[in-house]
Amino acid sequence: MTSSSSSSSSNSIMDNLFQRTLEDLIKSSRLNFLPEHAFISNAMDEIRKEIKSTDPHTKSTALQKLSYLSSIHGIDMSFAAFHVVEVMSSSRFSHKKIGYGAASQSFHDSTPVILLITNQLRKDLKSSNLFEVSLALECLANAATLDLARDLTPEVFTLLSSSKVYVRKRAVGVVLRVFEKYPDAVRVCFKRLVENLESLDPPIVVAVVGVFCELASKDPRAYLPLAPEFYRILIDSKNNWVLIKVVKIFAKLAPLEPRLAKRIVEPVCDVMRRTGAKSLMFECVRTVVTSLSDHESAVKLAVEKIRELLVEQDPNLRYLGLQALSAVVGKHLWVVLENKEAVIKSLSDEDPNIKIESLRLVMAMVSESNVEEICRVLVNYALKSDPDFCNEILGSILETCSRNVYEIIVDFDWYVSLLGEMSRIPNCQKGEEIENQLIDIGLRVKDARLALVRVGRDLLIDPALLGNLYLHRILCAAAWVAGEYVEFASNPFQLMEALLQPRTNLLPPSIRAVYIHSAFKILIFCLDNYLMQNEGAASSYSNNMAGGDSVLVIGKKSTEALDLPNTEGQNYDQDEGFNPRNTNESSEDFPVGNNVDRVVTHESIVSVFNLIELVLGPLTANQDVEVLERARNVVAFVHLVKVEIFDDSVQNVDISKKKDAQVSAVIKLICNAFSMELGLVSISAQSRVAVPDGLVLKENLDDLQAICGDTELPSSCSFGVGGHHFDTTFDTSSSNLVKGEDSGPANESTSLLEHRKRHGLYYLPSEKNDIVSDNYPPANDPELSSNINDEAENLARLTEQSLLLKKKPNQMKPRPVVVKLDDGDVAPILVKKPEPRDDSLSGAVRDVLLGSETGPSSSRSNPSDKPSGKAKEKKKLSTDLPSETKEQLPDLENPNSRSKNRSHKKERRRRSPGNIVEEGEEHDQKGKKKSSRSHGKHKTRQRANSPLNSQTPVIPDFLL
């Protein structure tokens, strides 16, 4: 069949003799004489020549080879479209088949020659050879355009009631495409399609149920009136394929009509119970958990089945079990909690897909009360996982915790330190998200700033982190936080050192610029404090800053710690000496310690100046303009201030008298600018600004991209100086702050000590900056934290308590204020709903099913609408429509959908008298509903006369 190599019917024997058949082609491709592209271009040259041949055999063989190359090697065969049409019209079946195959494969809506095949298709659809009919149907199924679908609808209509099962089945299959392209075809074909639902031939039922399943998934409401037919199939059919599709259809219909849902619960559960096929069972489970989740007993049964799936050996079944759980989690959280062991065990499954599925479930269990514990467990998992899954975990933690402006977070100190911890996970690639959240929390949650600065400091002082590309964005945020909220820092000088450490040359320029700018802010802060202290005795400071209290305290602390950089080898015991003073921060302390402090302060300020000049000096010739500009600013400022204030000759004399009042004013001014609160900016802020006259916003700025395309703005630029003021009182924050500070210096100093031991070389100021060794240990060694047990059961036990929705006892702190803008500062998450794509299609379906005959007259005026019995009846009915007498005879045949349904029911009753219980119920219901029905009839009648578009379909009573 591949090629009739021995066929000699053609006229030009020579052509035939020397032509390679498809088989030859495939064989030669397997011999690998030529590289693939050479082989293909050879073959294509050959085909291009042969396909122009007048000999049909040569031509079709060439086309066959071309189709093969196209489907396997992706060769474009559009150039041969016209030859395809020619071969299709061949009278020999073997040629025709090749032509149709090529057309099915390569034709699409924009193929120009597709206009030429209408008549050929029509001829073949009417052929007496059922394989020719099948070929044409297949072509229509794959390539039908609007024109083809419209022009050939009558033929398809005829074939839908063909006496040959084979043809009828294929015609049913093609209907889907025809309806999609030409919705008006529904008016012609739909009734016949419905009739096929009642067919006794199993192949037809398989096909037609499949078609309805597809149709119903697009617009289920239109198919509600057919529920009785589907119900019958659900009860009667023994074919699993059919049952799966029918159950799927009911999954779509049930949510629309509670009475229907009530009706199908039992049969679906019944199928679930008795079937041996896992696929069918799973379909029932899925239907129950998605569409019948209000029916307790059904859900219980489904959950039982899910539990069985979760413990299966087969990974496929376990995966599906988890999927079913995620479907149920929205409505019945208890189901997931009940199966948490299996879920958590799956977190360490071999299959990444299963792991991700179980991660989703774990995240679904997160609530305000257990978020800390679950996150702890997950971070431990992340440490041990492969990079992909690790980031998957981190991503979902970040996403869940930040949802609805950190809705579930109560303890922001914890969350901020978790962010810090996550940054240090070796495989972490979520830098951008963590960066955003660090800054966002800084802006929104005042009470979290202390913790933020602490976390930022820990990140900044670790030189190892600078080597990790993925952390740069986080470090950028840390640097910004350190600069912006420096008043919360326990030791600004240490921050300064961290920001100016040599390894910052590993950062990209945009982030380096943020570093330098933050260093500038810290410098200003220190200088301001220094000047303030000097004036402190005269207590002229009191009205300087908002929140002066806390700033004073911090400022003082910072002066105490100033000696740290210079006393490297020393024991840090003296820190303990500082602590008492930290705790009783009274401003009376100030004058007492003043003398001692000032000397130290002076030295450390000088050392900071030196450090800045040493580090930033070389940067004033940097390539990057952002870095260069900022470095110059800082260095120039230092020069200015240094000369004015710290004249070497006047070192130990009372400076406050000698200092230039102008410099002091400048520092104050800058300091005030920096201490202005940065607020959130609403996403709609830009649109509220009126466009000034003469500003052309629509101007083409394409060339701009070329200029600044590769310049990434530092993140701090994206936040404007907002006039957003906080209403929270300062007292709470400052008290919190002091409390938090208690343990601060002690462990800080030890970590710093360790840090210096490890990276001692960095503190040798004369070291050449450029030489930076890169062999730092990884930031967070998995080994170090491997005190977690590897056993999944242990982890399951660990989460056991956390997953129980109990309240944490140690949650004493009230949730801090989280600033939100009124008009929504977060882009609203648009849940993308599948739009009802083919309105016209479902509209047409509704018209047909609900009996409105007011649609376009195409169906009736269609010339080829054969006067078959059914069509005649339909015509007769539609002419009957306006007749008045119908009002008095409500039970007579009536041209609306109900009549159709009822007629089906009658037939069914005739056919299957065995189903007694079923029918009895039906009678009961009918009796009960009778009055309401005749009432409804009026409505239907009215509607039928009213314009098409204004109707809201009244779904008839289709209860079975």
Binding site: G74, L137, E138, N142, V206, C213
Partner: protein
């Protein structure tokens, strides 16, 4: 549309059969096939047969050197698709007798034909092996 495409790919990642039920350009097809092959062929026996890719769900199964990959809509029944793949393989087995990659290479048209009998417009229309094969056998006889 239930089934969006059916692919048969060998161990080396070469496409042996590709049938799409929605229109994609050749470039899109090539890209899609490349991505899917990379994703699915790297998985091992102990992992499940379902992979989410773009907006498809891919259900695949390996028979000897050949992977059968079916792209479906999100709400399609995965297990039913696995059964569909198995049915396809059994059908080919019955026709070719112990079907192998070469059979599909040399009889691509027939393989397509079987698929066409089973699926129209992405919708499974025939599930009986005998019914699928009857027209092919008849055509073989007459030609």
């Amino acid at each position: 549309m239930g089934i969006r495409f059916v692919l048969m790919v060998n161990k080396q990642g070469q496409t042996r059969l590709a049938q799409y039920y929605e229109y994609l350009t050749l470039e899109q097809r090539r890209a899609l096939e490349g991505e899917i092959v990379r994703k699915c062929l790297a998985r091992n026996e102990h992992q499940c047969s379902f992979v989410e890719h773009r907006n498809y769900k891919i259900v695949y199964r390996r028979y000897a050197s050949l992977f059968f990959l079916v792209g479906v809509d999100d709400d399609e029944n995965e297990l039913a698709i696995l059964e569909f793949i198995h049915l396809l393989v059994e059908t080919m087995d019955r026709h070719f007798g112990n079907v192998c990659e070469l059979d599909i290479m040399f009889h691509l048209e027939k393989a397509h034909f079987m698929l066409e009998e089973m699926v129209m417009n992405g919708c499974i229309v025939e599930t009986s092996k005998a019914n699928i094969l009857a027209p092919i056998q008849l055509m073989d006889k007459t030609s």
